[in-house]
Symmetry: C2
């Protein structure tokens, strides 16, 4: 059996290595268009920023590893230029020698990845505009950051000689993972950074109010953030520097531009092979990673996968799923019944001292799907016991099904313990956990690590309180016609108060019930919604129509209600 | 309805607060023998060590909070001195006034906790010997650490006057959680510390080979570790300092002694009430936290709970379960059907820069129960992507059922990302996860936080490889009669080699198969068992009887085989 694997990074490399382990006799040819296989593309922004100084650190396995250790015919700078699925052949072009050859396959695995989007805008090809996808991309950016425009031969020839100018101003276009990581790393290198994002928020998979918190970290580090403004084009100034033009008519001077406006599945080869492309523009595969041609498999960023929380087809250009898919394709080629279970969209991103993570469905996705059977809660617990040094507040949003309590999604932001909580939520969603299960989760507790009631337990308790009817909930966007009750203590109100709200500190509530209307909805809040929960319980049991405002003052500022 | 809650710390305080939320009209009396309610006893070692400087930081809620916020009759320094379960009364002694009163109850909740064991050994009552259970305990230790024996009026009267001597030498007796946390905190305060443990390992719930790794951290910080040596008694020297005598006949000089040899459920009240005590010496309760008397509930460290992994009754003196049990007792008293699901023994402990954590069943517990249907694996992955700065090696042991792949237990040690992995494993065990589920877990990955294949995924993959027959496994204790094959590269052997093992570096293996015996078991190893896995695959497919030695060289040093 001869298997050709196209693409030698995450999914392709995993597939090749796994296949060799399962089948010592298979003839395996892995071709990679670029100069490197199995490199850590997730590390590229950090290599640009310098925290990963050596380029070689990014090379997880080399061509040589594959040849010697796995007995795989591994060829870099080798591009597939044609596929005949009828004849089961591919045409290969060796970019080193220029030679074109044809190879027969029994099974073909496509792992071409996804390409950074480069819209055909005026000036898009000007020097100094970069994408961040490959090791050579990162190398070019690093060189540019050291030497600037002067390095381009001829570029400044009209001025005769120009001393190298080290770039000072960067514009990053696109506020997704790569954009944010590049923002952090360019700030880390001392550049003045502007981030331009077409949408009204950074990190599009997040719900916007959670993105607000991410934006605070960006702005806090001196980054100019331009939301709701699309890219219109580029111009070169007389001094060789760039200007980034936006749809609003703004012009942002830049010595370097990073394009991070998303990626598009590489489907050229798939189209060449005549296999099915899905609605989202990715290669359509079944749960065995098989395409519409039974002898062609596809894995990684180029394929569409099922989101198993929402049931929708989606594109998840992330390394974890790509690696798992590569393994599964290898299993199936080797005759096994392995299945990819789909994705739940778990992701995490460091942005300066902050960390933002997400798993499962977001509110906006549920709303888009017309799902009405969900509720959301906000909570702001400490990352670990408040009395142990270094505790930091987490901001957590949890989405769950109203009818049966099933956990649907979680978003967590903070500076410590974010990765831990998203992994607990992710494992919980994978296993079909309900909020009642979260209440009872027995997680590791000692003061440096958590609390006797971990934030994950708290999320479960709050959600279960809602579902059991113990704590009717509301949100700031639905309190307009109600009676607002603030149960904080007066010194807290001095800092920030809510117009029109009556203040009765919780300890006085039982004695002052007479001040409250019996015929109106009473929306109760405090700082974090814990005391207002206690107050809600008191009110409900005394016959008042009370609801707790989820997240209280802490969610209010996040939601931009103020 | 009148409910009396005995004990105002974790379980009792949770029960009281929850009950008030559920029933605004219940008459709730919470009595606490000590001076404080709802204090953070888990923080006491850190208060002694000084990282939690203020005692007040440990007081999570005060008597006043309970009175004012929860309308609970909360009485500290108030001890229950009698219970009549027939008359449904308790006798209370107010230690402030000396007054004794009787109170009727409809429901009684016992949350007396567990008391530090103080064996009746010679000299046990000498000054300078402390337990660590309460805020006053911590205060006494802190005072002693500042002023030493001279502070005790009369103690040194035979010498006339003696200047205060600040303690320099500490002996900690007992290497469990509290013992280890005290060791760290005393070292942190600059004391010379000796740790004496009766068993052959620290952290008794751990398997011994994992405890070895914990012991390395202790010894590395200059602590003298005396294992396999029991406490025999104490003597006072002429200068007022102590000597700790052990069963082996050793004498350890000490200016302060911390007794941390375990806790025993407080069952005095339970016996007074005539309710059932279990085989393990704790109060027996059903899943509703109800004792053998339908009107008496018990929660927290004093009760026996079911380990839901092993099905055995057990004592788990930890804050998380105590809090959950308190809530459940309140629910049931308020007429709800809440059930405690049992425990899985999740625990975590910081020991200097190391962290050790555990969840589910250990190997020794499974062996003790005669369970033969399990396998174990060791793995040593990086805490996050190796190419991103700061990655640290984790040591992970995973136990799983051979017949169906169900995850039974995990132990994780390392310096970074331990808490995260134990929480993922804990959530997985709670939800009945198999190792096949772990393979597919979609955890948060970005280079600062993990790897595209997280350690949790790796654990699943390795275990699944074993169960699918792809990687027959063995352990260092069962390789004696086999043929040992070392597939590391020669420079690695220079550091540490295994006598009698043949070295064939992995890249040469395919060409040198002829050197291997066809009729013998071949036990393959490398450094971390990854390359030896690849080698095992090559050998198996070529007809050899190969097994991979789990954990390879890294488990060998841990197991003390060398």
């Amino acid at each position: 059996m001869k298997v050709i694997i196209v693409g030698g990074v995450a999914g392709g490399a995993s597939c090749a290595a796994r296949l060799r382990r399962l089948d010592e006799k298979a003839e395996i040819l892995m071709v990679e268009r670029g100069p490197y296989v199995s490199y850590a593309n997730c590390g590229l922004p950090y290599h640009v920023g310098g925290s990963i100084e050596k380029e070689s650190s990014l090379l997880v396995a080399t061509e040589q590893t594959f040849r010697v250790q796995f007995a795989i015919d591994c060829r870099t700078r080798c591009e597939v230029t044609g596929i005949s699925s009828k004849q089961k052949t591919v045409e290969l072009k060796n970019h080193g020698t220029g030679e074109v050859t044809a190879e027969k396959y029994d099974k073909l695995v496509l792992s071409p990845g996804a390409a950074p989007i480069r819209p055909p805008l005026p000036g898009i090809d000007l020097p100094g505009i970069f994408s961040v996808r490959t090791v050579p991309d990162a190398r070019s950016i690093r060189e540019w950051l050291v030497r600037g425009a002067a390095d381009l031969s001829g570029m400044n020839s009209h001025t005769g000689f120009q001393a190298p100018t080290k770039p000072k101003r960067a514009v990053v276009v696109g506020g997704g993972f790569i954009g944010l990581e590049m923002v952090e790393n360019l700030v880390h290198r001392g550049l003045e950074v502007t981030l331009i994002e077409k949408l009204g928020q950074v990190m599009p998979p997040l719900d916007p109010e959670m993105a607000r918190l991410v934006e605070r970290y960006i702005v806090k580090h001196g980054v100019r953030l331009e939301l709701d403004d699309g890219l219109a084009g580029f111009q070169q100034s007389a001094d060789g520097s760039l200007e980034v033009l936006t749809s609003s008519g703004n012009r942002h001077p830049a010595d370097i531009v990073i394009l991070a406006i998303g990626v598009r599945p590489e489907t050229t080869l798939a189209k060449m092979a005549g296999i099915e492309i899905g609605q989202r523009g990715g290669i359509r595969v079944d749960e065995h990673m098989r395409t519409s041609d039974p002898d062609i498999f596809a894995v990684g960023d180029a394929v569409e996968v099922r989101d198993f929380v929402t049931g929708q087809w989606t594109l998840i250009p992330l390394a974890g799923p790509a690696n798992r898919q590569g393994r599964i394709a290898a299993d199936v080629i080797a005759g096994r019944d392995s299945r990819f279970r789909g994705t739940q969209g778990t992701s995490i991103c460091k942005i300066f001292e902050g960390v933002i993570a997400q798993t499962g469905a977001s509110e906006k996705v549920l709303v888009r799907l017309g799902d009405k059977d969900f509720e959301k809660i906000y909570l702001f617990p400490n990352s670990h016991a408040g009395y142990y040094p270094g505790a930091k507040m987490l901001a957590i949003k949890v989405l769950f099904r109203k009818s049966d309590g099933r956990l649907l999604g979680a978003q967590v932001l903070g500076e410590e313990g974010v990765d831990k909580r998203i992994d607990s939520f992710a494992m919980a969603i994978q296993m079909g956990c309900t909020v009642y299960d979260l209440e009872e989760a027995e997680l590791g507790y000692a003061p440096p690590f958590g609390s006797a009631k971990d934030p994950v337990n708290f999320a479960g308790m709050i959600a279960a309180n809602v579902l059991r009817g113990d704590m009717p909930l509301c949100h700031w966007n639905s309190v307009e016609n109600g009676f607002l009750l603030d149960v904080r203590n007066p010194p807290e109100l001095a800092k920030e108060s809510v117009p029109g709200a009556l203040n009765i500190p919780l300890p006085q509530l039982r004695a002052r019930l007479g001040e409250l209307p019996r015929d109106r909805d009473i929306f109760v809040f405090c700082r974090s919604a814990q005391r207002s929960y206690f107050a809600t319980r008191i009110l409900l049991q005394n016959g008042y129509k009370a609801r707790n405002i989820s997240g209280s003052m802490l969610s209010r500022s996040m939601l931009g209600v103020a």
